[in-house]
Symmetry: C2
Subunit: 273 residues, 2 copies
């Protein structure tokens, strides 16, 4: 029997500041909404509020661009200091052209600009403040889950969303950056369909579908809502908990990872990770 | 003010047969559930039930593989007749290797096997029946929307989901194959963030996020539920209605479309579309 699934935007969160306790902010907002967490709820958080609470902010005013950053900046049509920050977050450069700078981050994510972004970041008088991805998004999710479970007494899952562009398709979609308490990749190979046919290649990125769903809900208000509760979803609890990592496609299993012409950069694997 | 969004699986649909009237089947199932459609509801349908209702089925027993299909079959590790069917659905071959056969379909979708699939298709005594994508998924969605709106008196949107694999990430996710009554790609460039910063590169594939969300809900029961109502979503009504087409990334704007080594096939653009 398939049940209804409800997506509940968590409204009334303040602008998150470095050092803020997200569990506190979430529970206060929920209490103002007259909402309590229930067993099995999934809490989805936008990457940016997790990064900000963890102080993952960097001021360009303090950055000196190195040689490689100066070389890439005109090709990427970006400030060399911005490129420097992206390179520090990267293991490998995948593609550079004006407006498209795709790297593999030190976490293993293949995405534009290593996820470094300035939108929705409060700026100070001078300089320009950029937001980096959390150092370890799975650990961020696990810590928040542990705190929320302790304070509410219910079993939860926590996911952290980012938005990625994609080959083949226009526009960004929500993807899973970090997770705790939920299996992100389902392997249905060997199961049978409704007529007994054995499924052959069915890996479902349930974690990314969930991130896309909650990203859709986060985008529903004009200013965006950075946290959403998913209620009524059936999901598997992982053991061991691999977080969002199973969704990362290894480079050697990805024929599309290196476009023609990317060899120039691929040869220069960045040494610092 | 952000509102709750509800996903309601439409249960109790029969196994869809060629010639079935999907609007009839959906309204009957809803009536048995005690559910009525409301203004603004989005009805999401799995591609397979749309294809089956439109008779988009083909029996391999009646297929003769051509020369190119015979050449590709061992490279793709597939039955030459199966390859023949895929080629007939394709404008261009993007990549062939054992287990990976990526093409651009005549609709413009870049996906594995041109979306041709045999899972959840009732098989006859001899031969093997494969399911093709709908001929014109946007038109399928528009027709169903017109019928449902006429019969219920409410304004709706209809989307048709498929599941695609992706570069960079493991596992398939729901993507938008056809749509009517909803803007699939949002352009937020030029809008400002919560601190007045002008957003620079924000195209959001809301249609794909919605397809991923409803695909997640469809996968929640053991046998899958091929139709879902989304209630409470804010969305823009398109004028003109471009359906799912804005989500197709043109080949010349996609540096990742042709992996190294794909030139062999790219040179042989298929002539029949």
């Amino acid at each position: 029997m398939a049940e209804k699934i409800h997506f509940i935007p968590i409204t009334g969160l303040p602008v998150v500041q470095p050092g803020d306790d997200l569990a506190d902010l979430l529970l206060t907002a929920l209490s103002k909404m007259g909402e309590t967490l229930q067993n099995g709820d999934v809490i989805a958080l936008a990457q940016k509020i997790v990064s900000k609470s963890e102080g993952q902010l960097i001021n360009l005013a303090g950055i000196t661009a190195g040689e490689l950053a100066h070389e890439i900046a005109p090709l990427a049509a970006k400030d060399p200091r911005h490129v420097e920050v992206i390179l520090r977050e990267s293991k490998q450069i995948i593609w550079v052209s004006p407006g498209i700078f795709v790297v593999e981050t030190y976490h293993g994510y293949v995405c534009a600009n290593a996820g470094v972004d300035r939108s929705n970041i409060e700026q100070e008088g001078n300089g320009e403040i950029l937001c980096l991805l959390p150092r370890n998004p799975d650990a961020s999710a696990a810590n928040l889950r542990a705190t929320l479970e302790k304070r509410t007494g219910v079993k939860l899952a926590v996911i952290i969303n980012d938005t990625h562009g994609r080959p083949f398709r226009m526009g960004g979609v929500g993807v899973l950056l970090g997770a705790s308490g939920i299996v992100a990749l389902h392997d249905e190979r060997g199961q049978t369909d409704m007529f007994g046919y054995r499924l052959q290649a069915t890996l479902t990125a349930m974690g990314d579908e969930l991130a896309a769903a909650t990203s859709l809900v986060m985008g529903q208000s004009a200013q965006g809502v950075p946290a959403v509760i998913v209620r009524g979803l059936s999901y598997e609890r992982p053991d061991p908990d691999l977080g969002a990592k199973p969704l990362i496609r290894p480079g050697d299993k990805d024929v599309f990872r290196y476009p023609p012409g990317s060899d120039t950069w691929r040869a220069r694997v960045l040494p610092h990770w």
